[in-house]
């Protein structure tokens, strides 16, 4: 059933996210053409110059809108689909509360990753265009994966780099889940009450932020104390170990935060669901 929920969740979100992604791509193309216009002789015509600048502005706005919409969609899908009238259908489907939450989490995670990748790619393309470097030249000069791997192995950092990269990816994924669950838990807790549901959701959001920020701050202070005056920047070996440990602590902290918020969401939806 989770697969079916994910399918319908993609159907509901793609109708907004796909046109936005398409707009970012189209404006990226136009913006890159207008960069050439701005740097060429056409920029001497005032109307064209204003037009080119407008395209650049629209491109920047589309990038921001794509990022913001990924968050707005994540929040509004949970709110409208589970906590408002649509909840009467969703909570009477033969699926568990866990499946309902995971479907929303997985689809939000995918859109965050897709949007980030898209923004990264169009920004890279724009940077290349501004620097006047051809993409073919960049690709031609890039070392192959095998060359890169051999070079890293030769200086003995390959395994460590792979380890650090994997930990960073895990940390990013857990952080995205924790952010989603922060919103989900706040809204679910706020909507257990009969009145002032939105106001209470905001109050829970702030309280949860405060509690977890305090926890992270304490862990950060303890981490610096544990360094005991050593300076990891002076020694690459110590630096790698320090980064590895810091990443594990980050992963652990985000995992605990995500787990606590997940169970808060599940419990409030199971025991305290209070649709209007």
């Amino acid at each position: 059933m989770l697969g079916k929920l994910i399918k319908h969740e993609f159907r509901a979100t793609a109708r907004i996210m796909l046109p936005i992604s398409g707009a970012v791509l189209a404006l990226s193309l136009l913006a890159n053409l207008s960069i050439r216009g701005l740097t060429g002789s056409m920029s001497e015509i005032p109307v064209l110059r204003i037009f080119f600048l407008f395209i650049e502005f629209a491109f920047g706005a589309a990038i921001v809108a794509a990022g913001v919409m990924a968050i707005v969609i994540m929040v509004s899908r949970f709110y409208r689909n589970l906590l408002k009238d649509e909840g009467y259908l969703m909570f009477t489907l033969p699926v568990s509360v866990h499946e309902l939450i995971w479907a929303k989490l997985i689809v939000s995670l995918v859109w965050f990753l897709v949007t980030s990748l898209l923004i990264f790619l169009v920004c890279c393309a724009t940077a290349l265009n501004i620097s006047g470097t051809s993409l073919a030249v960049v690709i031609g000069e890039m070392p192959s994966w095998a060359e890169l791997r051999d070079a890293l192995k030769e200086i003995g950092v390959y395994d460590k780099l792979v380890g650090l990269t994997l930990k960073m990816v895990l940390l990013v994924l857990l952080s995205i889940l924790a952010v989603c669950l922060h919103f989900y838990a706040s809204m679910s807790l706020g909507h257990m009450f009969s009145k002032n549901k939105i106001l209470l959701s905001i109050v829970f959001f702030v309280l949860i932020s405060f509690a977890f920020n305090m926890m992270k701050m304490s862990i950060g202070i303890a981490g610096f104390d544990a360094l005991n005056g050593t300076h990891p920047m002076n020694d690459s070996e110590v630096m790698t170990q320090f980064m590895s440990r810091a990443l594990w602590v980050g992963i652990g902290t985000q995992a605990v935060q995500a787990a606590v918020l997940y169970f808060a969401t599940v419990l409030s939806l199971k025991r305290g669901l209070n649709l209007e």
Binding site: H8, D85, G87, Y88, P94, V95, S96, S194, K270
Partner: protein, 231 residues
């Protein structure tokens, strides 16, 4: 085993006692009117039966199980409000019902929609209130469920739509199932009911067959309801 059973079921919202030690059983094959004035606890009872609320005390069982994932596959529920996503097309809703409910008969739904000239490519937001209510009812009644819980299915619609809705319910429900119709518009539903439950201020006032009311009291359910709930 009764299809629905309440054992000393209570639900409190803060200081408001919405249901107060309700005990009742419903058997399959009956069309039951859950009748009571506004705010009497009808919607709360149906929400509890669907797991949309958690009892404060007592329990409610569907085929011996507490409401949840398993019971949702045998209960077909029509809430008292528009609950379909407005952006969705009828075709997408048919897909959704077909995907999740094994007992959903898509052909039956398509036929009913066709008869009402509701285009499958139409979005819910493009429909009038009456058409929306009909579309919701068609989806709910196209399931071969064991228990239909219909909350105010004829509230707020014109008399012609009201007739269509009642006809659709009676023509399409699974005869081995129980149907609960919650309403305060008693005169309109009386003709289709086998049994009635009178509820007021969260308490069950009466559970009886329609025939018994007519024989024992010599009046219609509507007249008897007015007698019992006289202000």
């Amino acid at each position: 085993m009764p299809i629905l059973e309440c054992r000393e079921l209570s639900k409190r919202f803060g200081s408001v006692q919405a249901l107060d030690e309700v005990s009742l059983t419903l058997e399959a094959g009956r069309v039951v009117g859950l009748l009571g004035p506004n705010g009497s606890g009808k919607t709360t009872l149906l929400k509890l039966a669907n797991g949309l609320l958690t009892p404060t005390d007592g329990e409610i069982l569907i085929e011996g199980l507490a409401p949840g994932k398993e019971t949702h596959s045998v209960v077909s529920y029509l809430p008292d409000r528009p609950y379909l996503a407005e952006w969705m097309k009828v075709r997408q809703l048919l897909d959704l019902f077909e995907d999740f409910y094994d007992d959903f008969d898509r052909n039956k739904a398509t036929e009913m929609l066709l008869r009402l000239s509701i285009d499958e490519e139409m979005r819910i937001k493009e429909m009038s209130k009456g058409t929306r209510e009909k579309a919701q009812l068609i989806l709910v009644m196209s399931r071969k469920a064991k228990l239909y819980l219909l909350d105010e299915p004829i509230g707020g619609v014109d008399p012609a739509t009201r007739d269509y809705i009642l006809e659709t319910i009676i023509r399409n429900y699974n005869p081995e199932a129980a149907v609960v119709i919650s309403t305060h518009l008693i005169a309109d539903v009386e003709q289709v009911l086998d049994d009635v439950i009178f509820i007021n201020q969260g308490k069950i006032m009466l559970q009886s067959s329609v025939d018994a009311i007519r024989e024992e009291h010599g009046m219609s359910v509507d007249q008897y309801f007015r007698e019992v709930f006289r202000c």
